[in-house]
C-alpha cells in the first residue's frame, strides 16, 4: 500500500443532526462494522480510508462532526478545505430532514471551496417506522444540486456506494482537487498589441 500511487487526498465532511447515524455511517464505511454502543460524538472525529474509483486511488480523510447544537460553534472550523460533504438525515425522523436547510447554510458559510460536492444520505432505511419518503429526499437533493442515496449503516445498504459516488464526482470536478494551477491568463484580443506575432507589415517603418 505505497502512498505513491495515490492520486490525491480528499477531505470529506459528514454533517447532520445528532443521532441520524453519521458516526455509524463512517464506521460502516471504514471498518465495515456497526456498533450500537457508539458514543455521541464529541467535537469531531476522524478516519482515513483509501478508495479506488475508476482506477484512481484516492485517500479519504473523513471528518465526522457532532450534530448537537452545542458543538456547532466548534465544528464548522473544520469544514475548511473539504472537497466533499455528506449531509445525513434519518428517514424515521422528520425533524432531521427539516433541519437540512440549516446544515446546507452552515456549509455554505464555512466551507472554503465554492464548488464543494454535496451528497444527501437518507439513513436508517432498515427501520420500519419510515416517515420521510424517498421521493422527498430526491426532490430536496435535486433542488439543491446534490447527489442522493438512501442507506443503512446497520445493514450496510448504500454505504459504500455513497462514498464512491461522491469521490467519483469530486474527481470529475475540475479545479476542486488538483493542486496545479493550469488556466493561463490571456489578455483580451482587443488590447492593442504592437507586433501581432507576425512580422508586422510596412506600417511599423
Amino acid at each position: 500500500m505505497a502512498d505513491t500511487d495515490i492520486l490525491t487526498t480528499l477531505k470529506i465532511l459528514i454533517i447532520g443532526e445528532s443521532g441520524v447515524g453519521k458516526s455509524s455511517l463512517m464506521l460502516r464505511f471504514t471498518d465495515d462494522v456497526f456498533d450500537p454502543g457508539l458514543s455521541a460524538t464529541i467535537g469531531v472525529d476522524f478516519k482515513v480510508k483509501v478508495l479506488t474509483v475508476d482506477g484512481n486511488r484516492a485517500k479519504l480523510a473523513i471528518w465526522d462532526t457532532a450534530g448537537s447544537e452545542r458543538f456547532r460553534t466548534l465544528t464548522p472550523s473544520y469544514y475548511r478545505g473539504a472537497q466533499g460533504a455528506i449531509l445525513v438525515y434519518d428517514v424515521t425522523n422528520r425533524t432531521s430532514f427539516q433541519k437540512l436547510d440549516l446544515w446546507l447554510n452552515e456549509l455554505e458559510t464555512y466551507s472554503t471551496k465554492s464548488n464543494i460536492v454535496k451528497m444527501l444520505v437518507g439513513n436508517k432505511i432498515d427501520k420500519e417506522a419510515r416517515v420521510v419518503t424517498r421521493e422527498e429526499g430526491v426532490k430536496y437533493a435535486r433542488k439543491h444540486s446534490m447527489l442522493f442515496i438512501e442507506a443503512s449503516a446497520k445493514t450496510r445498504d448504500g454505504v459504500q456506494c455513497a462514498f464512491e459516488e461522491l469521490v467519483e464526482k469530486i474527481i470529475q470536478t475540475p479545479g476542486l482537487w488538483e493542486t496545479d494551477q493550469r488556466s493561463e491568463l490571456r489578455l483580451s484580443d482587443g488590447a492593442p498589441t504592437q507586433q501581432g506575432g507576425q512580422c508586422g507589415g510596412y506600417c511599423v517603418i
Binding site: S18, G37, F46, S77
Partner: protein
C-alpha cells in the same frame, strides 16, 4: 551518420542509397506538402473585405535539411470558417484545372493594406503561402546561384505534388525581408520577384515612374495595354506632442510630506508618469483609381491628402511606460526577497525588552486619560516615540520622521485621536462598518473574484496598514522605513493589549477565516483585548459588589470601544464574559438575590444554584420537580486558521483506532465538561438525563407506556441506547464534573496566552515577511483602484480586470505567492488607462482650441482640462457631447487601425489636421511665434506646410494581361511598391500562361 542509417534500410521500397542531397531535399519537401494535404486543396470562395486582417491565421512548421543546412518551412494560412464549397457538378471534369487561390488574391481589391499581417500578405494579398528560410543562427542565402537552386527545387516539388500554394524563399538578412517565390496551378505560373534598395531612385519617386517600371516588366505583347488599376496610401507620422502637456503630472512626493492626509495615505497613486503615446500614424488612402485619372509625376501631383477619400489612424504606445501604481507595487513586492531582520535595519530595539516598555505605558496612560480641560496634547505616537529615547537611528534618511509617523499612526488608529481631541470616537468604526458593505455595482464575475480575495475588508486596520507600508516604502526610505513603521505598529499593539484599548477598524467577533492570516491575528488580538477588558471589569465588579447589581446594562460590543475610549468611569462599562446573550444578563444577575422560596427548597441539597441563564422551556428536573435552567456557559475559544490547522493536525495525529478516537473525544471534551459543570451549578440535584434533555435532546427517548392497573397511558422517558452504554464518554464526563459556574471555571480561552503568542508572532516577523503578509491587501487595493478607472479606460478593461482578479484570487490563496505576473498585468492595465487618458486629452485640447478660435491663447488651458475630465467621467455613456471623440479614442485603443469617418473633411479629420498643424508649427517656430500660433492663426504662416512629408508612400498596381504571348490567356499581374525615406521596395507578382506560351 544519415547515410549509415540509410544503408541498412534495405526494406525501404524507395532506394535512397544513391540519392543526392538535392534529391533528398526535394523528396522531403514533397513529403511535407503531402502531410499538409496541399495537393488535394480545393478551391475556396473569394476573400471577403478585410478578411486578411480580421480572420484567424494559423501556422504550420517543419524542418527541412539540404545536406547539413537546416531550413525551416512554415505555412501561413487563413483559417476560414466557410468550408471550401466544392461545386462538384461543374468541376468534375476539370479537376486538374483548379486555380490557385493566389491568382485570385493578387488582384482582389478587398484586402489592401491589412492593418496587421505578415509582410507577404501585405505585399501580395495572399491567404495561404509557404516560406522556406534558413533556421536562425544558420547562414543566410546570399548568392543568386543558391537562390536559383532552391527555387528550381521548389518548382520540381510543386509540379510533382500538384500543389497550388505559393512558396517563397527568404534571401539575405532576415531584417531585409527579401523574398522570391513561385506558384503554379490551373495553367498559370506566377513568379514573385522583388527589388529592395535603401534609397528611392529618382525616376521611381512618383506614380508615373512606377507605372512605367510595371509596364516594362509586363512587356505586354498587345498594342493596347489594359489600364492599370492603382491603389495608393500615404502615411504621415506625428510624434511631436509638446503643444499638449502630458496631463498626468507626477505628484511630487516630497511636497505631500507637508500635508500628508489620511485620505492620501489610504490610497494608492495611479497614472503614467510619462506620456504613453509615442506616435500617431495617419493613413490616407485612394483606393482603386484608374491610372489615367490620377496624375503624379516629378512635376505635379494630384495626391492632396486632405482630399483622400479614406483616412485611418493608428497609435503607437510605449511598451512599458513608467506608471505610479505599477512602480509602487513593484517596489513593495521587491521587498519580499530581502533578507534583513528588523534588528539589522533598526539597530537595537528597545521594544523587545519589556521592562522598559513600562515607561512607555506610563506615558501613554497619562495620555489616554482624558483631561478635565481639553488641551491640545502631543498626540499618541509622538509620546510613544519620545518615550523610547534609545531607538537607534541607523541613518537619518531611512527612518520616518516623527511628525510623519504621527500622521501615519493617526491614520491607522483614528480612535486614539478622538480620545485626545474629544471627537466622537465611534464614528470611525461606524464608517468602517458601512464602507464594508458599500461598493458600487461591479460586473458580477469581477465582483465574485474580488470577493474571494483572501485579504481584508477595504479600509480595515489591516488594509490601512498595508497601504501605509506601501507609501512609506516608496516615499520615505524603503525597507528601513517599513521596518520602522512595523516596529511602531507592534509597539502600539502591545500598548493596546496592556492598556485595554481595542483595535479600531476591525469587525468584531472571532477571526473571519475568509480573510488573510494577518487580519485574523489582529481580530484575534482584539478578541483577547475584549475578554481582558471584560475579565478585569468583572474583577472590579466583585470587589465593589454594591455598584454592580444596579448598573447591569446590556451593551452591544460595538459600544464597548466607545465607552472604553471615552470615559474614565470604567465601572459603567459592562460586558459579561459568560453571557452568550447579553440581554439575558439580568436574569443571571438576579441569582444572588434569588427569592427565598427557592432557597428553602434547595436547602436539601446544601447548594445554592449559580450561573443560571434562563429556564429551558417548561422542562423540570426529573428527580426534583424543579424548573430546568440553562446555565451561563463559556464561549468556545476563537481560532485563527493556523491554530485551527494545528488543532486539526493534532487530532489527525491521534490516529484512527478506537483509542485514538477516545483520546480525541477526551481532548475535545473540555467544552462539554465546562458545560456540565455550569449545568450542575445552575441545577443542583440534576442528573445526566436532565443534562441530555437540554444538551442532546435526541438522546432522550420518550415512549407511551400503557399501564395495566389504571388502564391509562403514561409518557415514560429514558436515555438512548448509546447514552446508556456503561462507561461511555458522556457518563464518564458527567461523573467527573463538579458543580462550578462558568465564571469560576478555568478559562477555556486563555486570552493572555493567546495575546502574547500573537504579539510575539508580530514582533518576530522580518520586514520581508511583513510585506508578504500585507501584499494581499495591496493587490486587492490596486485592483479596486483599476476598477474605479473602468469608465476612463479602454472597453476591454473590465474584462481584463476580471481575468487579473481571477488570477490574483488564486495567487493570494496559493502558498507560493507568485505576484510578479499579477504585477505585470496590473501595470499593463494601468498603462492602457493612461493611453486612453492621454489621447483623450490631446483631442480635447485641440478641440477646445478650435472652438475658442483666435485670441486668448494662454487661458483655455484650464477650460480644456475641465472639459477633458468631464468627458472622461462621462466615459462610455452615449450622451456625451464629445461628438464621437471618446468613441474614436476607444476604437484606437482597441483596433489596430481605425477609420476616420468623413476622412479629412469630417470633424475628427479636422481635429487631426489641427494636431498635425500644431506639431508642424511647434517644430518650425520659436518661442513667441508658437504662442501666437496656438491662438489659432496658423494661416499666418503659409510657408509652413500643414503636414510633414509622408513617412511612407505605398502603391499597388494591378492589371490582367496575356503573357507571355499575345495569344496567351489573360493572367493577373500585380506590383506593390513602398517608398519611404530609407527604403524602396518593389514586390511583383507576374503571372503567365503555361499552356499557350
Amino acid at each position: 551518420m544519415a547515410s549509415g542509417e540509410e544503408d541498412q534500410d534495405v526494406f525501404e521500397i524507395t532506394d535512397f542509397t544513391t540519392a543526392s542531397d538535392w534529391e533528398r531535399f526535394i523528396a522531403r519537401i514533397e513529403e511535407i506538402f503531402h502531410e499538409w494535404k496541399l495537393p488535394t486543396l480545393q478551391q475556396e470562395c473569394p476573400l471577403k473585405r478585410e478578411e486578411l486582417t480580421n480572420g484567424k491565421w494559423e501556422e504550420a512548421c517543419e524542418d527541412v535539411m539540404f545536406a547539413n543546412f537546416r531550413f525551416l518551412m512554415t505555412r501561413y494560412y487563413l483559417k476560414r470558417d466557410v468550408e471550401p464549397e466544392i461545386k462538384n457538378d461543374e468541376l468534375e471534369d476539370q479537376v486538374e484545372e483548379v486555380l490557385s487561390s493566389a491568382i485570385e488574391d493578387i488582384i482582389s481589391r478587398e484586402n489592401d493594406f491589412p492593418a496587421r499581417a505578415h509582410c507577404l500578405v501585405r505585399w501580395f494579398g495572399l491567404r495561404d503561402f509557404i516560406v522556406l528560410c534558413p533556421t536562425v543562427g544558420n547562414d543566410i542565402i546570399a548568392s543568386e546561384n543558391r537562390a536559383k537552386i532552391l527555387l528550381s527545387s521548389l518548382c520540381i516539388a510543386i509540379n510533382n505534388t500538384n500543389s497550388h500554394v505559393p512558396v517563397f524563399i527568404q534571401l539575405s538578412q532576415r531584417s531585409r525581408r527579401f523574398f522570391l517565390g513561385i506558384c503554379e496551378g490551373g495553367g498559370i505560373r506566377t513568379n514573385f520577384e522583388m527589388v529592395h534598395l535603401n534609397k528611392v531612385p529618382q525616376h521611381c519617386n512618383h506614380l508615373a515612374g512606377l507605372l512605367s517600371v510595371f509596364k516594362g516588366k509586363l512587356s505586354c505583347p498587345l498594342q493596347l495595354i489594359p489600364p492599370v488599376d492603382v491603389t495608393i496610401r500615404f502615411t504621415y507620422a506625428l510624434h511631436e506632442w509638446s503643444p499638449y502637456s502630458w496631463p498626468q503630472s507626477p505628484p511630487d512626493i516630497s511636497d505631500i510630506t507637508e500635508d500628508i492626509t489620511p485620505s492620501l495615505l489610504g490610497k494608492l497613486p495611479f497614472g503614467a508618469l510619462e506620456d504613453p503615446i509615442v506616435e500617431l500614424l495617419l493613413f490616407t488612402t485612394w483606393p482603386c483609381l484608374s491610372e489615367d485619372i490620377v496624375v503624379d509625376n516629378d512635376i505635379h501631383s494630384d495626391l492632396d491628402l486632405t482630399q483622400a477619400p479614406a483616412w485611418a489612424v493608428k497609435v503607437r504606445t510605449k511598451d512599458e511606460p513608467a506608471c505610479l501604481l505599477g512602480e509602487f507595487l513593484e517596489e513593495f513586492v521587491a521587498l519580499c526577497h530581502r533578507k534583513e531582520s528588523q534588528q539589522q535595519l533598526l539597530g537595537k530595539l528597545p521594544g523587545e525588552e519589556f521592562d522598559d516598555s513600562n515607561e512607555i505605558s506610563q506615558a501613554l496612560n497619562k495620555l489616554a486619560r482624558p483631561h478635565p480641560i481639553p488641551v491640545t496634547l502631543p498626540n499618541l505616537s509622538a509620546v510613544v516615540s519620545k518615550a523610547r529615547p534609545n531607538l537607534h537611528k541607523k541613518s537619518e534618511v531611512s527612518l520616518i520622521d516623527d511628525s510623519l509617523l504621527d500622521k501615519i499612526l493617526i491614520f491607522l488608529f483614528p480612535n486614539s485621536v478622538s480620545t485626545l481631541t474629544g471627537d466622537q470616537g465611534s464614528e470611525k468604526n461606524d464608517d468602517f462598518q458601512n464602507c464594508v458593505e458599500e461598493k458600487e455595482m461591479l460586473p458580477a464575475e469581477l465582483d465574485d473574484h474580488i470577493r474571494s480575495f483572501k485579504s481584508a475588508p477595504p479600509d480595515s486596520l489591516t488594509w490601512r496598514l498595508a497601504l501605509a507600508m506601501c507609501q512609506v516604502n516608496h516615499s520615505y526610505g524603503g525597507i528601513a522605513a517599513v521596518a520602522h513603521l512595523w516596529h511602531e505598529f507592534v509597539l502600539e499593539m502591545r500598548y493596546r493589549w496592556e492598556n485595554n484599548f481595542t483595535l479600531p477598524c476591525l469587525e468584531w467577533g472571532a477571526p473571519n477565516l475568509a480573510y488573510c492570516l494577518l487580519h485574523q491575528k489582529l481580530q484575534m488580538l482584539n478578541c483577547c483585548i475584549q475578554r481582558k477588558i471584560a475579565r478585569e471589569w468583572q474583577r472590579n465588579q466583585q470587589s465593589f459588589p454594591s455598584t454592580a447589581s444596579g448598573s447591569a446594562i446590556s451593551l452591544s460590543p460595538q459600544k464597548t470601544e466607545q465607552m472604553n475610549s471615552e470615559s474614565e468611569d470604567e465601572e459603567e462599562f459592562f460586558e459579561c464574559e459568560d453571557g452568550n446573550e447579553n440581554s439575558e444578563i439580568e436574569s443571571s444577575m438576579d441569582i444572588d438575590s434569588s427569592p427565598s422560596s427557592e432557597v428553602s427548597v434547595n436547602k436539601k441539597m446544601q447548594l445554592q444554584p449559580e450561573g443560571r441563564l434562563r429556564q429551558c422551556g417548561s422542562l423540570t428536573l426529573l428527580l426534583l420537580d424543579e424548573p430546568l435552567y440553562i446555565p451561563v456557559t463559556q464561549e468556545p475559544a476563537p481560532m485563527t486558521e493556523d491554530i485551527l490547522e494545528e488543532h486539526a493536525e493534532v487530532l489527525v495525529q491521534l490516529g484512527t483506532n478506537p483509542e485514538g478516537a477516545a483520546l480525541r473525544a477526551r481532548m475535545q471534551s473540555a467544552c462539554l465538561t465546562s458545560d456540565m459543570e455550569a449545568f450542575k451549578a445552575a441545577n443542583p440535584g440534576a442528573c445526566l438525563e436532565d443534562f441530555v434533555r437540554w444538551y442532546s435532546p435526541r438522546d432522550w427517548i420518550e415512549e407511551e407506556v400503557y399501564e395495566e392497573g389504571t388502564n391509562t397511558t403514561r409518557i415514560e422517558g429514558h436515555l438512548s441506547p448509546r447514552m446508556q452504554v456503561s462507561g461511555n464518554m458522556w457518563q464518564e464526563a458527567w461523573d467527573n464534573s463538579r458543580p462550578v459556574p462558568a465564571r469560576r471555571q478555568k478559562r477555556l480561552f486563555d486570552d493572555t496566552k493567546e495575546a502574547e503568542k500573537i504579539l510575539h508572532f508580530l514582533a518576530s516577523l522580518k520586514p520581508a515577511m511583513v510585506v508578504h503578509h500585507l501584499l494581499p491587501m495591496v493587490i486587492h487595493a490596486a485592483i479596486l483602484l483599476l476598477v474605479d478607472h473602468i469608465p476612463e479606460g479602454p472597453r476591454s478593461l473590465s474584462h481584463t480586470l476580471e481575468q487579473i482578479a481571477a488570477k490574483a484570487a488564486r495567487v493570494i490563496r496559493s502558498s507560493e505567492h507568485k505576484y510578479e505576473e499579477i504585477l505585470k498585468l496590473i501595470c499593463q492595465a494601468e498603462a492602457n488607462v493612461a493611453c486612453a487618458q492621454s489621447l483623450m486629452s490631446k483631442f480635447c485640447q485641440t478641440e477646445s482650441k478650435m472652438k475658442s478660435g483666435s485670441g486668448e491663447s494662454g487661458l483655455p488651458q484650464q477650460a480644456e482640462k475641465k472639459k477633458s475630465t468631464k468627458l472622461k467621467q462621462l466615459g462610455t455613456s452615449d450622451e456625451t457631447d464629445d461628438d464621437g471623440v471618446w468613441e474614436f479614442v476607444l476604437n484606437i485603443l482597441e483596433q489596430p487601425e481605425v477609420d476616420v469617418p468623413g476622412a479629412g473633411k469630417g470633424k475628427l479629420g479636422k481635429l487631426l489636421r489641427r494636431l498635425f498643424a500644431e506639431a508642424q508649427m511647434s517644430t518650425h517656430l520659436e518661442g513667441d511665434e508658437k504662442l501666437e500660433f496656438s491662438g489659432g492663426k496658423h494661416h499666418h504662416y503659409p510657408m509652413i506646410p500643414e503636414f510633414p512629408p509622408p513617412v511612407g508612400r505605398e502603391f499597388i498596381l494591378r492589371t490582367k494581361t496575356p503573357r507571355p504571348a499575345s495569344y496567351s490567356n489573360h493572367s493577373p499581374q500585380r506590383m506593390y511598391c513602398v517608398l519611404s525615406p530609407n527604403e524602396f521596395r518593389l514586390g511583383g507578382a507576374f503571372s503567365e500562361d503555361t499552356t499557350f506560351q
